[in-house]
Subunit: 254 residues, 2 copies
DNA sequence: CGTCAGCTTGACTCATCTCAACTAGGGTGG
DNA sequence: CCACCCTAGTTGAGATGAGTCAAGCTGACG
């Protein structure tokens, strides 16, 4: 439990590389409207003119693989909308134990609990492109556009529901069940993004999965091997292929 | 894992006993403003005139000890504001395993994830008094009063943060640590309600605590006994007295 | 070609679960 | 009023799932 996944030690690199506006000083129309994740993110709630207002306060940023987006305890007054790549959210205990709270995929919103210091950290686990808003701008826009605020609320409610799923998983499921449920949930989310339902990319390490599921990396590895041995999945480089969906679903027990 | 806590079998009793408005057909002024939990609930965000609007759509209801407030899967189009008593929120797996998602205390908001079918159930674990709103009324009011909507959003954000605490607890803490952390968190919440910080009432059963912490009731019992043996707490009927706060905090390790 | 991070696998340990017996308090009905 | 029952809680002894420690594998990269 001590020299666990040194990934976040790469931190402080403040991965922002490209900090220029999407289309510097350009006209707004069409910027957000061409966004590939708009239809599945908060922005979907906005009318075209509101979208332009949003585009005016948006900055396109990228983070390198393993870059820290922000750290637990930091007061980051920003909101990100993930466009591409995967982000892990985590919370650290004082003694170094880590719990991964969730993985963010394109279309997901990453907000630092408005104005307080963040209770969690976030880093990129593959190259990430995101849309950044300053907290003030974003809040001002939300104040002005009730539809955005309602949409935000819907997002928060949805996240709460995901958090509840996660609690059940952590508190009341066995190791094998956890792994199966994790893969199935990922499958569904990728499906909603229009990605393959069969070959699941796993950009996170075993340690990440373990910290997400409340297990050790060895246990995760053993469970994955077991699933592969039983021909429920097939290990492929960088991910996993679902061979027997029904068997996986039976193992996940819901 | 089969005949666990039969409490929710008492269900379907639909505990609503007193369904009459707070002050039937009466004038509104002063109803909500005299509410003992107003200052700590969503309602705190409202101006006096808005409070009157709220009072007009509020219905005072009570639930008997062990009564189901609503059940998982049910489409309950309501929002409750807890005034008195304790409520447990739970989620059931198909095979009967239960995870308690949280305990609601006076001032907490109980909403059924607006308009969808509820992914969790709720029941009273002692006599409960609550303020009920129909979903439509509540949403309409939130639409009309942005301050209420923002307040709601703040509540959701706060709950998300609590859920994250809970995930860390479930995924990365040992049994003793879990029990200590549970007692400390309860202490803080009761403190905010102006209740004793020393004698903590525990209206929930050991099984409830176990299902909240992801343990078995025997393990909870053993941990409580151990804490008592070490003079960190003292078992008193219906609850627990905190003897050595520092020791408890050390055990909870945060 | 050597190194290193990520992953796998095995052997053993240990925390927690399971099963079971027992105690205490409260309510009920004969 | 007492005998009984029922729920909640406690405690012990033994079983077991997951953790720990350790060795070895593999592919990427300098």
């Amino acid at each position: 439990m001590v020299d666990r996944d040194a990934g976040h030690d790469h931190g402080h690199s403040e991965g922002g590389i490209d900090d220029s506006p999407v289309c510097p000083h350009g006209r707004s129309s069409g910027r957000c409207s061409g966004c590939q994740v708009r239809s599945i993110s908060v922005c979907a709630a906005l009318r075209p003119d509101e979208l332009d207002a949003l585009a005016d306060i948006a900055v396109d940023v990228t983070f390198a693989d393993r870059a820290a987006i922000f750290q637990q305890g930091e007061t980051a007054a920003v909101v990100y909308n993930i466009i591409e790549g995967t982000v892990r959210l985590y919370r650290l205990l004082p003694d170094g134990r880590r719990q991964i709270l969730g993985f963010l995929l394109p279309g997901d919103l990453l907000w630092v609990s408005l104005s307080e210091r963040s209770s969690f950290g976030a880093d990129a686990i593959e190259p990430v492109r995101a849309c950044r808003f300053s907290r003030e701008d974003f809040v001002a826009l939300a104040d002005a556009k009730p539809s955005l605020l309602k949409s935000l609320h819907a997002v928060a409610t949805h996240e709460l529901s995901l958090a509840q799923d996660h609690m059940v998983l952590l508190g009341r499921r066995g190791a094998e069940e956890k792994v199966a449920a994790f893969l199935l949930a990922l499958r569904v989310r990728l499906g909603r993004l229009g990605r393959s339902q069969v070959t699941l990319p796993l950009p996170m390490t075993r340690q990440d999965i373990a910290d997400y599921l409340g297990l050790t990396l060895e246990t995760v590895s053993r469970c994955v091997s077991k699933l592969a041995r039983e021909r429920a999945i097939l290990n492929v480089p960088g991910g996993v292929r679902v061979l027997d969906l029904a068997k996986l679903e039976a193992l996940a027990a819901n």
